[in-house]
């Protein structure tokens, strides 16, 4: 049984329809890359899966582990093992990274009938994961993402993922704004988390990230639909001939023409 099954998903924001019929099945352990030009709906798909209320689902269904995902509030999705690494991680002044992450982890563990971590166990866990992400421990005591550099924010996302150990991780343009060293570290962190029970959806605009996180499948999104699917070689094809080679333009331009 697939871990995630998206059937004919339509979603809009305001009056604008962004997803126009997505079909996708993700099995346990698989890594799926979603590529596409700006405005094709990649980030919308990621946010809809995580439960952002800004987007209204107008048709279709999503089954997660056989359950109706769209009926769940975002926090329940997280507790059931879905994790979204944000394209733009949110700064939350006044809430320490440490407090936030411990609250998140224990809420999820409680939901899954696992014992909650005490301060000591949590610190040990966090230290181990920070090493993986080559993060400085000082970041833990700072407010969530506040004053972090772009690279630190992205690292912090993957660090959170490492601590929360989701079953389905959705990475939304985790590569954007990263220099090559930061990209390697982030990708290294992601790869270390790959396992046969954990699925990933990697949303990216560029093929570059997929040199480091090698996907099992690549899907190309255009105008809110998957227009082409293939293996990892599809990403390389795109790298050579661009989206234009598939007859796809940036949607913003397409919109401008209307």
């Amino acid at each position: 049984m697939p871990l995630l099954e998206i059937k004919d998903l339509h979603a809009k924001v305001g009056d604008r329809e962004i997803l126009t019929g997505i079909n996708l099945a993700v099995n346990p352990g698989e890594v799926h890359a979603i590529m596409g030009p700006n405005g094709s709906g990649k980030s919308t798909l990621a946010q809809v899966l995580a439960g952002r209320e800004l987007y209204v689902v107008t048709a279709g269904e999503v089954l997660y582990d056989g359950k109706d995902l769209l009926g769940m509030p975002p926090e329940d999705r997280a507790r059931e093992g879905i994790f979204l690494a944000f394209q733009y991680p949110v700064e939350i002044p006044g809430v320490s990274n440490m407090y936030f992450l411990k609250a998140a982890l224990n809420t999820i563990r409680k939901h899954q009938n696992l014992e909650e971590y005490d301060a000591m166990d949590f610190l040990n866990l966090v230290r181990e994961k920070m090493k993986l992400m080559e993060m400085e421990q000082a970041l833990l005591n700072r407010p969530v993402n506040t004053g972090f550099s772009g690279g630190e924010k992205k690292r912090n996302e993957i660090f959170q993922m490492a601590v929360l150990e989701p079953r389905l991780a959705i990475l939304d343009e985790t590569d954007s704004g990263l220099d090559i060293d930061a990209l390697r570290t982030v990708a290294g962190g992601v790869n270390a988390l790959r396992n046969p029970n954990r699925s990933m959806i990697v949303v990216t605009h560029y093929q570059r990230l997929l040199n480091y996180i090698v996907p099992d499948f690549v899907h190309v999104l255009s105008q809110g639909k998957i227009v082409k699917s293939g293996g990892k070689e599809l990403a390389l094809e795109l790298e050579e001939s661009g989206y234009a080679g598939l007859g796809i333009e940036d949607e913003e331009e397409a919109v401008a023409k209307v």
Partner: protein
């Protein structure tokens, strides 16, 4: 009878029942009462009271009771007699313009007069707790505090107001900070939910003194806080505040920072969290006198409004008479950030917890600046409980 004399009449009979004091004090009381009778309680036609209607106080009749002030005085702090206080008492908190200060002065009776000798460094906080005990009928208390801090002395003052039932606290605190002294003042207002609380804190600050005042206003039905500081040359003053209101609470914070001399620095951050049908007022006046060149002043008022029915009135009031100064001010009114809510929820944190966490975070920087660990801890606990209440 006019409305004013109706209002003052009930107070007058209680004034005359007061046991006579030494002539100078008796004289002060009488002058103050006369001024109160002339002013009457303010109305919303007074610019200073435009958004705060004190009619519920003016119309009610109260029985004046002795203000019970519990003092915790660390070693090195002297408690002075009323006679010793004479040169300073009522010299800082002026009663000619403020009817409530006049009323407090008219009922001057037991007062806390504390002196920190020149050069003394007092590490333990001076704690002054005013608790209105539950009594039959409506009680009015007029607590009065005078703190004289010598030159180069360091001290911390924590004033707490609390009580139960429907009563009226009308407090006045005068602080005189000597040259180069360092004074950290906290006022924690935890009055009962039916109480009226009106208080003036007036600080007169010496040359190069460093003064900070933190006003935390959580309780009361109708609350007015006046926090005023007059700076001297090179003085650094901080006025911070946090007000948290819900239900039908009304809290009004008026501040005046008076830069009387050159090279003064002032920082002011007031933050408010409003829920339910609550109303809050912030009015921050900054005066830079003609001589006060090189003044550096910054004022910020931020409000987090959690319900559609809460109302905030915020107004900066800058009176700048010098020409070589830097004064900035800003006010914001906002709701909880949707993106931050979603971010927390996407990590498994429930909606209610996310709301209370973000609300708490909004207040955090004011709490972080509290340097008395026990006070900080107890406020963190109180706020945490309150935010859970708010989030429900």
């Amino acid at each position: 009878m006019t409305a004013v004399s109706q209002q003052t009449g009930a107070w007058l009979s209680q004034i005359t029942e007061q046991p006579a004091a030494e002539p100078w004090l008796q004289q002060l009381r009488e002058t103050a009462f006369q001024r109160f009778a002339e002013l009457g309680f303010p109305t919303t036609h007074d610019e200073e009271w435009r958004f705060t209607n004190v009619a519920p106080i003016a119309r009610a009749s109260f029985h004046v009771a002795a203000a019970k002030q519990l003092l915790r005085i660390p070693n090195g702090v002297r408690e002075l007699s009323l006679a010793d206080a004479k040169p300073h008492l009522a010299q800082h908190a002026a009663f000619h313009r403020n009817a409530f200060v006049a009323l407090n002065t008219a009922f001057l009776n037991q007062i806390a007069v504390l002196q920190i000798p020149r050069g003394a460094v007092i590490e333990e906080p001076i704690e002054i707790t005013c608790e209105a005990s539950e009594q039959p009928g409506r009680v009015a208390v007029h607590p009065r505090t005078l703190i004289l801090v010598g030159a180069d002395a360091h001290c911390t003052i924590v004033e707490t107001y609390k009580g139960q039932g429907a009563y009226f606290t009308n407090a006045v605190t005068e602080i005189v900070a000597g040259d180069a002294s360092v004074v950290d003042h906290y006022k924690v207002q935890l009055e009962g939910r039916e109480a009226f609380h009106v208080a003036t804190m007036q600080a007169t600050l010496g040359r190069s003194a460093n003064f900070s005042s933190h006003s935390i206003s959580l309780g009361g039905a109708l609350v007015r806080n006046d926090a005023n500081a007059t700076l001297s040359e090179g003085t650094e003053a901080t006025l911070n505040g946090l007000y948290l209101v819900n239900g039908t609470q009304h809290v009004d914070n008026h501040t005046v920072i008076d830069h009387a001399k050159p090279h003064g620095t002032s920082h002011e951050v007031y933050k408010g969290i409003l829920d339910g049908h609550a109303v809050a007022v912030f009015n921050g006046r900054i005066i830079v006198r003609k001589d006060a060149q090189k003044t550096d002043s910054k004022q910020t008022n931020k409000n987090l409004v959690l319900s559609d029915d809460a109302v905030i009135n915020t107004k900066p009031e800058l009176q700048i008479l010098a020409d070589d100064v830097r004064c900035t001010h800003g006010a914001t009114i906002g709701q909880l950030d949707d993106e931050a809510m979603f971010y927390l929820q996407s990590r498994g944190i429930g909606k209610h917890d996310a709301r209370s966490l973000l609300t708490y975070a909004f207040a955090q920087d004011i709490i972080d600046r509290i340097k008395v660990p026990s006070l900080k801890e107890s406020l963190e606990r109180i706020l945490f409980e309150k935010f859970h209440e708010h989030a429900q």
